[in-house]
């Protein structure tokens, strides 16, 4: 299953929570929001095979 963040793509196993997936790819759960199939969700959502998962950085601008 693929997770995109900015211009990068990460590959993880499905059937884990978004929070666990974020940790697995070495990111801080507090620092990103999770959008699954175009909808903003909480990070306890279990990611399934085929989901379109996008992480949105909460830090932006400057």
């Amino acid at each position: 299953m693929q997770i995109t963040f900015r211009d990068k793509t990460y590959e993880t196993k499905p059937n884990i929570t978004a929070r666990d997936a974020i940790k697995k790819i070495g990111m801080e759960p507090e620092a990103v929001l999770v959008v699954v199939n175009g909808k903003l969700v909480t990070d306890d959502v279990v990611l399934r095979e085929g989901d379109q998962v996008k992480l949105v950085a909460v830090v932006s601008g400057g």
Binding site: E28, P29, E30, A31, L33, V35, K39, L40, V41, T42, D43, D44, V45, V56, A57, V58, V59, S60, G61, G62
Partner: protein, 336 residues
């Protein structure tokens, strides 16, 4: 996770508040909390003209959006910094800010033409619906002859990063324009993560003068200083980002190329690691600081009464002679 109010899917879980909400109820909660902060910290009233510093980012556009929806007379100020290399960061930021304003004006015009029972419109005061917001644009290169990266490089200020020159210029321009245009208050989109990171930095170095001045509301303590407020000071950064997504605000997503990897972001990362293990740590760190400050712990360190008028521009400065802005930009006289 389900919304505490309606049991539909939640878009945010605020562990520090033990509160999960759906998009609709989150938007309502966010507006109510914004209004509460404005009242609690005595920021401004609906009779006052507020100038919002807008960068095109999520915080400032969310702030302008929230203030307008709450019925405040909020205009915007965009400062063109000329940061367009390697990517047109400043130009894109201005485009998104202008697009936001156009969408607000269009939706207000549409609401005037065909009043509906829409809860949002109905909740707004008559003043809010007749008020048409304005965007002031100050282009630094057009006004002072150079972009921020150019002046920073020329003056060798900030150890190779233009952030110091940028901050000094923005503070000066915001204050000057607010006074010139008759605004009683200047609002910025600083959120709790911004404030906690600054507090962390100042505490590590025991910068007591800075600690004494860090506040959600800085009164116009001296002639030539406009009142400054931070209505989002109790929101985590993920909360302002969530509001921007829920409201579908088209904001500048990329970080300023000069801000990437800076010290503030490093402290934010450390505080987020703390927050992950101890929900509410950031909130209590900041709010307990405000409580201590309110009890006068830092009163003896506030030296703002020792200000002088700059001999060139007249704006308050800590040392006699020219202010830091006039020295950096080599301003020797103001031509009216």
């Amino acid at each position: 996770m389900r919304c505490k109010k309606c049991n539909t899917n939640a878009v945010i879980n605020m562990r520090h508040h033990k509160l999960a909400l759906c998009g609709e109820h989150y938007g309502e909660w966010f507006l109510a909390q914004t209004d509460r902060a404005i009242e609690k910290y005595k920021m401004f009233s609906r009779d006052e003209r507020v100038l919002v510093a807008v960068s095109g980012g999520k915080d400032s556009l969310s702030l302008w959006d929230a203030l307008l929806r709450l019925g405040y007379q909020a205009d915007g100020l965009y400062i063109g910094l000329g940061i367009n290399d390697p990517a047109p960061y400043s130009d894109v930021s201005l485009d998104k800010t202008r697009a936001f304003l156009e969408s607000v004006i269009a939706s207000r015009e549409a609401a005037k033409q065909s009043p509906t029972s829409d809860a949002e419109i109905a909740s707004q005061t008559p003043l809010a619906m007749t008020f048409t917001p304005t965007l002031h644009v100050v282009d630094v290169q057009e006004t002072y002859g150079k972009t921020i990266p150019q002046i920073a490089q020329e003056k060798n200020r900030g150890h190779g990063k233009p952030c110091s020159s940028c901050g000094l210029t923005k503070r000066y321009v915001m204050n000057r324009l607010a006074l010139e245009k008759g605004y009683t208050v200047l609002a910025t989109g600083h959120n709790l993560d911004d404030e906690a990171a600054v507090l962390f930095q100042n505490t590590l170095r025991w910068q007591t003068q800075y600690l004494a001045r860090q506040s959600p509301t800085l009164p116009a303590s001296h002639e030539g200083l406009v009142k400054k407020v931070k209505p989002f000071v109790r929101f985590y950064e993920r909360e302002t980002a969530t509001y921007a997504l829920v409201r579908e605000l088209d904001y500048v997503y990329d970080e300023c190329p000069h801000a990437v990897g800076n010290l503030t972001n490093f402290y934010k990362t450390l505080l987020n690691q703390l927050e992950a293990n101890s929900p509410g740590a950031k909130l209590s760190f900041y709010l307990e600081f405000l409580r201590a400050r309110g009890e006068g712990v830092f009163d003896g360190f506030n030296q703002q009464d020792q200000l002088h008028a700059c001999e060139v521009c007249g704006q308050p400065t800590t040392a006699p002679g020219r202010c830091a802005f006039c020295r950096m930009w080599d301003v020797s006289a103001i031509v009216q």
